[in-house]
């Protein structure tokens, strides 16, 4: 068993998507809007610094990025 080639179960040819591409885009845009309007709380300085350096808005009074 240990050496068995782990091929997994392959379904590359018959996908069964529960969301259309448009629905995926809508959810993706909603996630970006959440990041813009609400933001997230990151409880680690290094993470906040990384995002700040990359251009994120930081509200340091609330440790939010």
């Amino acid at each position: 068993m240990a050496n068995k080639d782990r091929e997994g179960s392959i379904r590359e040819k018959i996908p069964f998507p529960r969301l259309t591409g448009d629905q995926c885009r809508r959810i993706h845009e909603a996630s970006l809007e959440v990041l813009d309007r609400v933001g997230v709380r990151l409880e680690l300085e290094e993470a906040i610094a990384l995002l700040k350096k990359a251009g994120a808005r930081v509200d340091s009074s609330r440790s939010a990025a």
Binding site: M1, G8, R11, E12, F16, A30, L35, L44, L50
Partner: protein, 392 residues
């Protein structure tokens, strides 16, 4: 070049248990009790012996070791008992570098593990909006070590995200995107696995956060949309014991997660909404996955499979039992290991055993017969040193 531990692409799926259940249904007594380290070790032997378990996780949180460093004991058990890829979970941040160090000992050094990781760390984040310190520390550390991180915001729909599946997904996905950006800022190209499981929702009638729900498949579609590897959930049940409900929920969720292309599908063997693990349920899930692979197999339509020459030979009066065509191909059919197909009389004569009795027998026979090849003593000693160093 050796292939990667798991090839995460397209609709290729791999199956394995979950981590850290507090209780176990003891397969010998069928009673529910607190989990012990010995159960973790036995569970891993079982995972090695089951053909359709592709990766391992700890399954259980042992109650007979110092709980603050139980993750090191789990990792030691996984590295010594299992040769399949490992997905580990640590409680505090410090457990993460310790577990990686242990895996480096087995791999033959940090570089060997970095080049061909056969471990990944599952990080549970409070929700898409709130990223706890340990989760972020682990994410950045894993990125620096080139070890895959499963960064999974896990809100509870109706409590820490909207009750609607789309709203809950949008919130947790916002967090997944933050994690993705952070890992790539820390180390461009760092391996990262996002969620293929929608936030579980709080059942407003029971106040239990659920595992086995039909509202699934969305998150997998979104991960496919991004083209990112994903971590999904199936094979778990809300039932308290391995029974008909547990079998039905496992079968339906495993089938739907596979159809959705869930890639790394975990939590096989879970009962009681993630609180209890059952070896019999895991063996049953193994059989269900075998069935699904039978369903999923490519169907040959060619001269040989159509067999028209044999049909002409046999014609209307004959039968196919004694033809060479039948002899050549009957083994290609799917055959069960646990599901019962005997005649009533044969089944009765063998003790009228139900499915759970047969699954329990399979567990017992694997535990009796499967002996993992031990790691070299020197390696075992080094791993043990890391466990004891943490235990103080």
């Amino acid at each position: 070049m050796t292939p990667p531990a798991l090839r995460l692409e397209g609709y290729r799926c791999y199956y394995g248990p979950g981590s850290d259940c507090l209780n176990i249904i003891d397969h010998r007594s069928r009673k529910r009790r607190k989990a012990l380290l010995k159960d973790v070790q036995e569970g891993l032997v079982l995972c090695e012996g089951l053909d359709h378990v592709d990766f391992v996780m700890s399954m259980l949180l042992p109650s007979d070791v110092d709980m603050t460093v139980a993750d090191r004991y789990q990792m030691e058990a996984m590295l010594t008992q299992a040769r399949k890829p490992i997905i580990f979970v640590t409680y505090e941040f410090e457990g993460c570098p310790d577990c990686i160090e242990m895996a480096e000992v087995v791999a033959g050094g940090a570089e060997a593990l970095r080049d061909k990781p056969n471990i990944a760390c599952y990080i549970n984040v409070v929700s898409g909006l709130r990223h706890n310190k340990e989760g972020l520390q682990k994410l950045l550390y894993l990125a620096s070590k080139n070890i895959p991180a499963l960064y999974i915001p896990s809100s509870t729909a109706g409590v820490t995200s909207p009750v609607t599946p789309a709203g809950a997904l949008a919130v947790d996905n916002a967090g997944a995107l933050v994690g993705l950006v952070l890992s790539q800022l820390k180390q461009e190209g760092a391996p990262m696995i996002i969620s293929g499981m929608p936030p579980g929702h709080l059942d407003m009638r029971t106040m239990v956060s659920t595992y086995a729900e039909p509202e699934r498949g969305m998150t997998q579609a979104l991960a496919h949309f991004y083209g990112l590897p994903m971590f999904s959930l199936a094979g778990a049940s809300e039932s308290k014991i391995p029974d008909s409900q547990a079998a039905a929920e496992a079968a339906l969720s495993l089938m739907s997660a596979t159809l959705a292309g869930g890639q790394i599908i975990h939590d096989l063997g879970y009962l009681e909404s993630g609180l209890t693990f059952s070896f019999a349920q895991l063996a049953l899930c193994d059989e269900i996955v075998s069935w699904i692979k039978g369903f999923d197999r490519a169907i040959e339509v060619d001269t040989e499979s159509l067999g028209l020459d044999t049909v002409t030979e046999v014609a209307v009066e004959g039968q196919f039992l004694n033809t060479k065509h039948t002899l050549r191909h009957f083994r290609e059919r799917w055959y069960p290991q646990l599901f019962e197909r005997k005649t009533f009389e044969a089944w009765r004569d063998e003790g009228s055993k139900d499915l759970i009795a047969r699954a329990t027998e399979r567990v017992e026979s694997i535990l009796a017969e499967h002996k993992p090849e031990p790691l070299p003593k020197r390696i075992q000693g080094k791993i043990r040193d890391i466990v004891l160093r943490a235990a103080g």
